[in-house]
């Protein structure tokens, strides 16, 4: 960790107001997000496969600061997309790239081994109070076949450059994704109605999403415009989510935070992955791969174009 700590300290010395990173918690069993404001605090920094959160979600909320951020390859893609969307200024964010071995599916681990079991990663084996699991077997789905091992951009790198281009873990075995893709439109409709019947509309999906930066004026909740009703039921929950998903066209980088945050296990990435593929096919655009790119949704010209809504 000494390299990570000194890199964070250097970033603070070079003018960052704070650095977003991870530390150990006495109670959580995994690394928890934290803000480092000075060198002494940075001594507590850690990075391993239990650093699951995408800290880029905090950047649009800290626009008035110069923010250092410890970032995995996939997190960097969110930062790149935020820059492309002009939501975050490149010079206000100092990216500390870390070599990522893949992060674990904490829910899966805890639901199998007991909540809060201290997870410690030691060279490919994750130890949990008396039990161990091969890291490869308990990774988040996004980490399998990861395409973001090498960060698109960064200001500082922890470790040597070679470690930032390690091979990605093997692809995920066949499961729900394959079944979903084989469904007819009618079957999919039934599938989603069942999934959204569990939704409690806590909006954790939205709040955990780095690209959902509309914050307090989100149409998932507004009365004006009133696209989704206020009922907490399958129909309105699905409507609200369809709105969120379609607003993420060409913006979702596939970080999977919405699915990780969902307390009732709705497989939101099935929707987003389909859309991401469609955007790639139609516009040749993959979100978060080029900070100078113009995202498809930003090609609308307020001065010339109109969609007939006030």
């Amino acid at each position: 960790m000494s390299d990570l700590i000194s890199t964070i300290q250097r970033t603070l010395e070079e003018g960052a107001d704070l650095v977003l990173g991870w530390t150990r918690s006495a109670t959580a069993g995994v690394a928890v997000p934290v803000r480092f404001y000075d060198s002494a605090e940075a001594e507590a920094a850690v990075f391993d496969s239990t650093c699951v959160h995408n800290l880029a979600v905090h950047l649009p909320r800290l626009k008035d600061r110069t923010v250092g951020i410890v970032a995995k390859g996939c997190d960097v893609r969110s930062i790149v997309e935020l820059i492309a969307e002009r939501e975050v200024a490149r010079e206000r964010v100092k990216i500390i790239a870390v070599p990522c071995p893949g992060v674990i599916d904490v829910k899966k681990v805890w639901r199998c081994f007991g909540y809060g079991k201290k997870c410690e990663d030691a060279g490919g084996q994750v130890a949990m109070e008396g039990k161990t699991a091969a890291r490869e077997e308990i990774l988040l789905a996004k980490c399998r076949g990861c395409r973001d091992v090498t960060p698109v951009i960064f200001d500082q790198a922890v470790g040597d450059a070679e470690s930032l281009s390690a091979p990605a873990p093997a692809a995920e075995p066949a499961g729900l994704r394959e079944r979903f893709r084989a469904m007819s439109p009618a079957e999919r409709r039934g599938f989603w109605r069942e999934q959204f019947s569990r939704c409690i509309r806590c909006n954790a999906c939205r709040e955990a999403c780095p690209m959902c930066f509309c914050r307090d004026v989100c149409t998932m909740q507004t009365r004006d415009p009133h696209w989704a009703g206020g009922e907490i039921d399958a129909a309105e929950a699905q409507m609200a989510q369809q709105i969120r998903v379609s607003h993420l066209a060409g913006r979702c980088t596939g970080c999977e935070e919405c699915e990780r945050a969902c307390p009732v296990g709705i497989p939101l990435m099935l929707l987003l992955e389909e859309q991401n593929e469609a955007v790639a096919a139609l516009f040749g655009y993959r979100a978060g791969t080029d900070p100078a790119a113009r995202p498809p949704l930003l090609t609308f010209d307020n001065n010339k174009d109109s969609w007939g809504e006030r």
Binding site: S25, T27, P33, E41, K108, Y115, I200, R201, V264
Partner: protein, 350 residues
């Protein structure tokens, strides 16, 4: 004490179900990795006692959305000409909640204080009363816990029996049953329960939080916004903690149109962690930042509600800890308030 062997549990639930009770029990959601929720049970379905449910059972007494009345505008031009159809007296179907935990059941007491008052008096919510009266709770006593549990901080902790009709203690081959109410006695008096002279196993001891003088310490720290900024820095401002919480009960009342001139007035869950919760028509928001909102949530649970009702608005179920996407731990927040009182040096000026 009565005893029921594990294999007879489905038989018990089936007979209660046949007698007209809608049975709810913790079950693993299909296609998920051990996501467990309270859900209507049908014969043959597996019940999951190993994992904690992500969402509490409060929807059985406080539905996520409920209709208060329907309305219809008689004329397009006259907004005063409204017909209101309020429906009949609130009725509720009998529900049996099987496999709640002591923290779930005890939370009903906190809600009762606000909604279950006698007719004609304060805090009388007829719809809530109807549902509460039709609810039977069979609680599974906890002989183990996880690291998020902290019910030992409150009342009798794992042995808290308020809100439960029957307490089930896991034991060799089955469960010892202690009936706590008339409803409970009626159930354990029937097959497949048998008499037993066994004694209940010791219950678990969970983590504790220091709640010494917490209300006055929250009051002292109220204006220390740096403290709250720090406490809430991991909070993403979603509504998971409040919606999963067995004691959070804030609601919103709103209208939804069904046709051009017909609509419904609804009551549904609301969350103090949402920006919209305190947003005023003018656009002003007295709780503009996450720090303000989290301060309110904590203060309501450990200061305002206790001041009004004489009890904490928390039973230590730990859901807000287990499921928080930002890994915020309410126990650490309480500890931070306590440490401020103890005069620990903190970093200011953030």
């Amino acid at each position: 004490m009565k005893f029921i062997i594990t294999e007879k549990i489905p038989e018990l639930l089936e007979s209660l179900s046949n007698a007209g009770q809608e049975v709810w029990a913790p079950q693993v959601v299909r296609d998920t990795v051990n996501t467990v929720l309270f859900a209507p049970w049908i014969p043959g379905a597996d019940i999951s006692f190993d994992m904690f449910t992500s969402i509490s059972a409060k929807e059985l007494v406080l539905p996520a959305t409920e209709k208060l009345f329907s309305f219809r505008y008689r004329s397009e031009n006259d907004l005063e000409a409204i017909e209101i159809e309020s429906g009949e007296e609130p009725q509720a179907r009998p529900i049996l909640l099987f496999g709640a935990r002591a923290c779930d059941a005890a939370a009903l007491g906190a809600l009762d204080a606000l909604f279950n008052g006698e007719p004609g008096g304060a805090f009388n919510d007829p719809a809530y009363r109807a549902r509460r009266g039709a609810l039977t709770v069979i609680t599974l006593a906890c002989t183990s816990c996880d690291t998020a549990c902290f019910c030992s901080s409150f009342g009798e902790g794992p042995a808290e029996k308020s809100g439960s009709d029957i307490f089930l203690y896991p034991t060799e081959g089955g469960y010892l049953a202690e009936a706590l109410t008339d409803k409970g006695k009626e159930i354990v008096g029937q097959q497949p329960f048998e008499d037993s002279c066994a004694t209940a196993p010791p219950l678990v001891e969970t983590a504790r939080v220091d709640l010494t003088d917490i209300a006055s310490r929250l009051r002292d720290g109220f204006a220390d916004i740096d403290l709250w900024e720090q406490v809430a820095e991991r909070c993403l401002s979603c509504g998971y903690c409040t919606y999963s919480c067995p004691t959070c009960h804030c609601f919103n009342i709103f209208d939804e149109m069904r046709f051009d001139r017909e609509g419904e007035r609804l009551r549904g869950w609301d969350a103090c962690m949402f920006h919209q919760y305190t947003e005023e028509t003018s656009g002003h928001n007295p709780r503009p930042r996450v720090a303000h909102r989290y301060r309110n949530r904590l203060s309501h649970k450990f200061w305002y509600y206790p001041e009004n009702q004489g009890a904490f608005l928390c039973t230590g179920c730990g859901r807000c800890i287990r499921g928080c996407p930002g890994n915020l731990d309410i126990r650490e927040a309480i500890a931070a308030v306590q440490q401020r009182h103890a005069g620990d040096a903190r970093n200011g000026g953030r």
